[in-house]
Symmetry: C2
Subunit: 396 residues, 2 copies
Amino acid sequence: MVSGVSKAEGVLLRHVHVAGPLTRAELAERMGVNRSTVLALTARLAQAGLISEHVPLATHRVGRPSLMVAPAADRVHALAFDVAVDRLTAARVALGGQVLARRTAPRPRAGADLEVVVEALATMGTDLHRTAPAGSVCAGVGASYCGMIRRADGMVRYGPDLGWVDQAFGAALGARLGLGLPVAVGNEAHLGALAEHVRGAGAGLRNLIYLHGDVGVGGGIIVGGELLDGDGGYGCELGHMLVNPYGGRRCSCGSRGCLEAEVGERALLDAAGRPASATGRDAVRAVIADAAAGDRRAAAAVRSIGDWLGIGVVNLINLFNPAMLIFGGTMSDVYRAAADRVRFRIASNVLPVSRERVQLCTPLLGDDTTVAGAAELAFADLLADPLGQGALAPTA
Amino acid sequence: MVSGVSKAEGVLLRHVHVAGPLTRAELAERMGVNRSTVLALTARLAQAGLISEHVPLATHRVGRPSLMVAPAADRVHALAFDVAVDRLTAARVALGGQVLARRTAPRPRAGADLEVVVEALATMGTDLHRTAPAGSVCAGVGASYCGMIRRADGMVRYGPDLGWVDQAFGAALGARLGLGLPVAVGNEAHLGALAEHVRGAGAGLRNLIYLHGDVGVGGGIIVGGELLDGDGGYGCELGHMLVNPYGGRRCSCGSRGCLEAEVGERALLDAAGRPASATGRDAVRAVIADAAAGDRRAAAAVRSIGDWLGIGVVNLINLFNPAMLIFGGTMSDVYRAAADRVRFRIASNVLPVSRERVQLCTPLLGDDTTVAGAAELAFADLLADPLGQGALAPTA
């Protein structure tokens, strides 16, 4: 079947996209096929300009060395965008995952129209596209957005930070860029989970949870190697678990006692007695630094927020039995400062069999996680069927 | 490839196992293959005695009728066992899912040894096996157990009702039955979810949650068509979400404020002022009946437990965005009595996009869900590779 062959090419391309250059022999072993199959696949991928092959620089074996197969990182890239709470980012990311160039801008204020945000992103994206080397091609466009996204068309169903409801973000950005490419949009925490799963702390694990904090608290949950999306793509909303249903703090969603309300930025700043004017990640880090320096009120705030974070983590481990939990954004700061509270809750409240092996950590990709996830989304069609789109047309 | 052919036979056999008799034309359409492929597959399955073919009794079409393909329900069966809180069950279940014969016994008291429970189950199972029609064959053995199970070997890691820790239940039952078949063991709520997903209220849905109540509260969660099992098979422990972490009731797991502690049998009976001697499903139903008859304390107890159930349901919908939640065991009684509280919590606390389409219901298979799930587990190997075991040997 034709689709079977295309898929095998996608499997090969994904191997070098994720792992970097591999010998034909290594590819044959990882794919469970023989070397003549690898030879046929690499020939087609090389002809399409998606991989290159070269003799390894040094080899310790006797005999003819197996050729190295590398992704065509200098020719094929994606555009990746990130609409985060505090800034806008656009990046050109090579096949293989390296960030080649990057632009950032302050995020427009809450209440900003779709057009304003799209214009700012497209200006950066067009600049990155124009300055790409001659002959290079853009394989796809992906965007991360801090809200609930309808995967099929990139509609922002609910974006509390900008105050958006049902805004056609993906379609508008695609039209404004004018590259003839659709824009695949994902929630920032979903994409963080994807990036850490593909090439970060959780590479190779089939079950992991990524918690992302900024103003709100979101999550991406990988179940059996796939992102949990649920019936409509709106799963993973771990920030809206009710952990303090009677008497909890008011949440941005209108509810009370959600995990986000108890562990988000505002909860920590309020507990530490900071004024309403103190916001953002620097303000969070200031409380944590003060706690470390002996400020009792700040220390009590960190302990209290750490305990609520531990309660949320307990629920997630009992429900998902994950191999790893990854704390990103402000949650990485809170987790590092309050790891003892989180671990105490796990020891006290997680069923013994599920706490046997779970690892806790922060993102290997650091604050690049969401952009890296948007790039993975952008490359998804190419990796599913590398030859299906025909030869990729060069940029200029 | 040989495995590809075996799989196609498994796909066909699963279709008639789940849907009942289908015409060759219907099978071709459902499988997306042509009729000559169906012809070849049915020929091999019929020769192995796994299906039968017959002319349909009546047809409204002109021309030669398409032959009906039916699972060999009179020849092929599985043994299914259920260790529930209040009783032991053994059943002979036909390929196709019909319960052919059933034995039940009271469950031994808490503290009963593995040997005592296995002996009681095996006595019933051996009796069912001996009384099976001559020439019929047992395709597999499955068991449901109310505890945490290691899937690989059927080890009961944690079974609070009987007080078991790390008991080799599957191996012991298999040895005592002496049929030369392994015993596949699953958690009762996982198997309930599986049964409702395959042939119950959630047939055809890819994302659903089954909540099961007895003394404890367990769950089975289907994500993308597969049971969530997590890193070690210990996921889905929704009864141990911490919903009332400060000041909640003591839970059987040693924690406080777990969903199980707030909505389980004991919570309802205590809230209604029933004595400690009142236990079991009849006692739960008596409180609900009294509430319906105007007893204020019973009504307040039902409302309060219904609210906590609603809080747990909110968390599950926000995390999983399921198409359906199914309330089984005592949770079906509580849900029916307090559906308004559950729906109020959903309306108040679930993010709008996730509550758009979720359905709430009770099991279509009623109290047979867990036995049906154990039978599905028993048939799993046969359905994966129907000809892989060679011809099934007759019983006697």
